[in-house]
Symmetry: C2
Subunit: 151 residues, 2 copies
């Protein structure tokens, strides 16, 4: 008999998506992230670029800093980052330095994402995408439509 | 009669180099940066990745955050970043989002720098290098030789 575990990629991406919803409620571009090690969430973050007036305050950047703080070391070996939208050059560059084991993103960012921009990942890092892509993409679209209507 | 101004690229790179020396004294990879607008330094920073246990704590990242904080806005339009070593993917990616006008670096980073990594800069950003390259490069070499001898 196998044990049914609730801890799959969708489970953790839902937690990242909840962070994206928090960002949405603050009027931030709705992107969320969590960092997981041994099925435990050790960092949660959402985009705060508007609140902090800081282009570096992407969800992933804060999640990396927070996870390293929790671990007491700067390398995120054996960790997985879940992020609702494919990381940008900056975040993929930070993930490169972190030597993280795995990146799981939701929706692609065809224009500014690290795939289109050809940002290099660390050889130790595997990246997969498409988990809750539709939800992540819809939340982002809704944000930009509402923003356009307000201006 | 022309007025002799002390404010050229070497003047500001010297200030960035002083920051690199502070990093060196702390046992950090010695890289320093300043952000300048209208010949005024509005941010100074040096690498703190070891002290903060945080791969995102590069000199440039902190300088961007600090400059935006000073300006009260996240875009560094009309600003110049001086940094002793060519920015990496992460920092060049952050500079992309900041829409900074100009990046001046000292020495090339042939392996991990944004030129070798082909990181995309913002179309509004101009980048030049080679200011105090020898000093910046020598300080970095000295750091790694001493580190090797200690271990």
């Amino acid at each position: 008999m196998s044990i049914i575990t609730p801890f799959d990629d969708t489970y953790f991406m839902k937690r990242a998506f909840q962070e994206a919803e928090v960002a949405y409620d603050k009027g931030e571009v709705p992107i969320g992230a969590v960092v997981v090690v041994n099925n435990q969430i050790i960092a949660r973050a959402h985009n705060l670029t508007e609140t902090l007036n800081d282009v570096t305050a992407h969800a992933e950047m804060q999640a990396i800093t927070s996870a390293a703080n929790y671990l007491g070391g700067k390398y995120l070996i054996d960790c997985t980052l879940y992020v609702t939208i494919e990381p940008c050059q900056m975040c993929a560059g930070a993930l490169f330095w972190s030597q993280i084991s795995r990146i799981v993103y939701g929706a692609r960012d065809e224009r500014r994402g690290c795939i289109a921009m050809d940002t290099k990942l660390h050889p130790k890092t595997m990246m997969t995408g498409g988990i809750m892509a539709e939800e992540a993409s819809q939340l982002l679209k809704r944000f930009f439509i509402e923003k356009r209507n307000l201006n």
